[in-house]
Amino acid sequence: MINLKINNTEVSIKEGSTILDAAKKINIEIPTLCYHEDLCIAGNCRVCVVEQKGVNNLKPACATPVEENMEIYTSSNRVREARKTIIGLLLSEHNNDCLHCYKNGNCELQTLAREYLVDSDKYINILKDYTIDRSSPSIIKDDSKCIKCQRCVRTCAELQDVNALCVSGKGSEIKITSFFEKPMDSIVCTNCGQCVIHCPTGALIERSYIDEVWEVLNNPSRHVVVQTAPAVRVGLGEAVGLEPGQSLTGKMVTALKMLGFDAVFDTNFSADLTIMEEGTELLTRLKKKIKDNENVALPQFTSCSPGWVKYIEHEFPDILEHLSTCKSPQQMLGPLAKTYYAQKMKINPEDIVVVSIMPCTAKKFEANRPEMYSSGYKDVDYVLTTREFGTMIQQAGINFESLEDSECDSILGKHTGAGVIFGVTGGVMEAALRTAYEIVTGREVPFSNLNIMPVRGLDGVKEATIKIENCRAEWKFLENFELKVAVAHGLSNARKLAEQVSAGKSLYHFIEIMACPGGCLSGGGQPIPINDEIRKKRTEAIYAEDESLEFRKSHDNPEIKRIYKDFLKEPLSHKSHELLHTVYTKRKKY
């Protein structure tokens, strides 16, 4: 332990900690901008400077390790003046049109400007000419708001190993850009939006479709249905000013009905459907491999995460056959709304608008993929993030906290706990195992209360082995088979598993990948800020929701049984292939 004094108060903290950590321990929040606990230390914004007794230069609290007997002052006049100067400098090169900024009210620079009361005309305005890159269907990049903290660059490199964003130029010409300064829609960007939730200002935001959605909601000739992803319900609270960690499905459905959606469906339903299709696909691949001795691609990768799908298309185009052909739950529900639901309700599919609310920015890209027209129309018309949904609730003046609960609409609304846990890393794997094991053996997975603990938690790569015993007659070839599975979240972790597959050295049969660290619950479309504490709270809320539900296995979902009986016939049927499965595109790195 290292002992030091901060503002004359003694602190003891473990070696290797920073001044920032030590200050936090005695309830002093030192301001930061370039610092983010998910990322490596940059120490480049300099707003966290503090004074050390006996040392002339101020020290960056985020980047300075504690030393024995150090005496630190966090609010001395020198410190306050220096911070004020630095914030003033940042504002002098920043587009200070806060009132028209999407991040107004949730901007770290704005907060500091208010706290430090910087004089408006202290420095000369040196904001450069800029253009806003609106080329991507998911992310808008506005350099005039950029403070060069490089959080996005570090996110893209460290968490995601995508390196779509980089730094170019030096001195006054420095900027955050892409390889050869290509627009956002022409680069290896996976649209995961992790840069968006790590950006302290409005330099990177999602492309918003709020106005388009209001437009159709107010058009009586359109039948507007909505689906909400599993993770939305555990993030939405934060978007409307509540504490993290609350699952708000009931209130969320009520709010959607109040906004005027004609039917409120749940992506959890199509998550259950994904399990039926993807689980069956896995068992089919195993059967071909083991029983029929066919050459089939194993392991099978999950395909629910559109950020991951675009990543593998760019980075590992030669192993696309390992990717499950299942569409993501969002893209399964879309065409079903415009076929199955339209037929049942006798609505002209041309009049149906499918809106989805997602914790994700990549879903916006996914909905625009050319393959996603299997209903004969654009399967999903508009994708909103959890944040945009929160904004709509505010625009509509809905007092969210006081709402009563209500339930999703039939016939695409019923869901199980297995569908809910799609929102957390390991959840798809857990849901798939709950179903696949039972299909093969007729018994529940051998884990207490169905909770498959080895695939849970925030470790970057998790693995589990399940021995299959006492199979049903038709699955006898799997008797004593050891099913090896792995789970990775964050694309830098995904790369490790993909490289094994690419080298032909993977030991697994089934691999779940989520592009975002933590899974969808900390996706690029979720409320800001994000950190591990918030990830844990949202995770707990998801698992609590799972345990609270009547059905916890996808194959038990009565609406799933019904759709197979009435419409799809069976998993991997002709109809399923037509509506629920897709193909992938080999992409280049540049």
Binding site: T64, I86, L90, Y123, K148, K170, G171, S172
Partner: protein
């Protein structure tokens, strides 16, 4: 050459403070014999005893770097020669590289022996690439020679890409690793975690040659030169308003008065000591100013300004340089440099009031204590010294 200039040259040559260590002829084999004989600890002690401090400008005691790198547990260590001579007005390393590469390599060998390194790297500034071919040949010969002697140490050359900031040691390391030239956070210092995160000793070209000279002549003879705080001699790059520009090796501790008497044109108004990032000293302070660590340290750049020069233009030129050469990562340096430049322009044009210069002085002083690396921290030196000594020229 005019009579006047010839007289001047004679005067400089007869100056008792002029020395001939760096560029003298020497039997390098003998020096290498000595380096290979002496123990690592004795190398460090000899350098410690000599009082040698880094000749790149910052003046860090050389032996402390060696000791630091030696004592950290590691499977490998690196010796880096900083030949990224980028400070405006400095051109002495180029001369040393052209004329005495073996001495640099011998100095690197001594450092390698002291810290237990088998790998040396010369980081050569991009603008000196025309020296690369010759230097490469010399390095290969030297590697062979050491190899034959059974000493496991090889040197290679890496080329810079033209950024001034890469003369700053941690930016240099980033650049050597193939990354953007951006300063790292310190600690850890390079001697703890440097190239490829291994203990690394980085020294200026000239420092390494003095290491070689100290090991060849002994610490005692080196110590005899200079002052208490500034031992030995130093190679100066002298330019500007002088009839005798060039490279001179002079004992440390000369006053600026003595210096301007030797090199000035009788109309010297100010001397910029230490290049763009150094200090501008007006004539009125020449007598009291010692060139050395107790006075104004310099990496070697001495630029003389005569009465005909506009200090505004000089400051403007320096600030333009910093605006462009800041790496841009840290706020105080990136934005601060631009504000200082725009600030003096605005005062000159009457857009900002004269007293805005006080805000700019405060800004420069804040940059000094908050910028991430030596580049941003030192912009304050020319700014404050020029503005405080020549305020009228800047604001009117």
């Amino acid at each position: 050459m005019t009579i006047d200039t010839k007289e001047k040259k004679d005067k400089i040559n007869s100056c008792k403070k002029k020395v001939d260590l760096i560029f003298r002829d020497q039997d390098i084999n003998k020096v290498i014999d000595r380096i290979l004989e002496i123990s690592p600890d004795n190398i460090i002690n000899e350098i410690k005893d000599s009082g040698l401090r880094g000749r790149g400008g910052a003046g860090f005691p050389t032996w402390i770097k060696l000791k630091g790198a030696k004592e950290i547990e590691s499977d490998s260590r690196y010796v880096v020669c900083n030949a990224d001579e980028g400070e405006p007005g400095t051109f002495k390393d180029r001369e040393i590289i052209e004329k005495n590469p073996e001495k640099i390599l011998a100095g690197m060998t001594a450092v390698a022996k002291a810290i237990g390194s088998d790998k040396g790297i010369i980081y050569l500034r991009a603008e000196y690439n025309y020296l690369l071919e010759d230097l490469q040949k010399k390095v290969e010969l030297f590697n062979d020679r050491l190899g034959r002697r059974g000493f496991d140490f090889t040197v290679e050359i890496k080329s810079g890409s033209g950024a001034y900031v890469c003369g700053e040691e941690t930016s240099l390391l980033e650049s050597m690793e193939g990354k953007r030239g951006e300063a790292r956070n310190k600690p850890p210092f390079p001697s703890q975690s440097g190239y490829l995160r291994k203990p690394t000793v980085i020294n200026n070209v000239e420092t390494l040659v003095y290491v070689e000279i100290i090991l060849s002549d002994g610490a005692e003879s080196f110590k005899k030169l200079g002052t208490m705080d500034s031992r030995g001699a130093k190679v100066f790059s002298i330019s500007g308003d002088t009839e005798v520009p060039g490279i001179y090796e002079i004992e440390m501790g000369m006053t600026l008065k003595e210096f301007s008497d030797l090199f000035g044109d009788r109309n010297t108004k100010a001397i910029q000591v230490g290049g763009a990032s150094g200090f501008c000293i007006p004539r009125s302070k020449f007598e009291e100013t010692i060139i050395g660590f107790e006075g104004i340290p310099t990496g070697g750049s001495m630029i003389l300004f005569s009465g005909k020069r506009s200090m505004y233009n000089i400051l403007h030129n320096y600030l333009e340089f910093f605006v462009e050469e800041s790496c841009g990562q840290c706020t105080p340096c990136r934005v601060g440099c631009q504000q200082l430049l725009k600030g003096i322009e605005s005062i000159k044009k009457g857009i900002k009031p004269k007293n805005y210069i006080e805000d700019l002085l405060d800004l420069a002083k804040t940059m000094k204590i908050t910028a991430k690396c030596g580049l941003g921290q030192s912009v304050c030196n020319p700014f404050v010294s020029i503005v405080e000594n020549f305020r009228e020229e800047i604001i009117y």
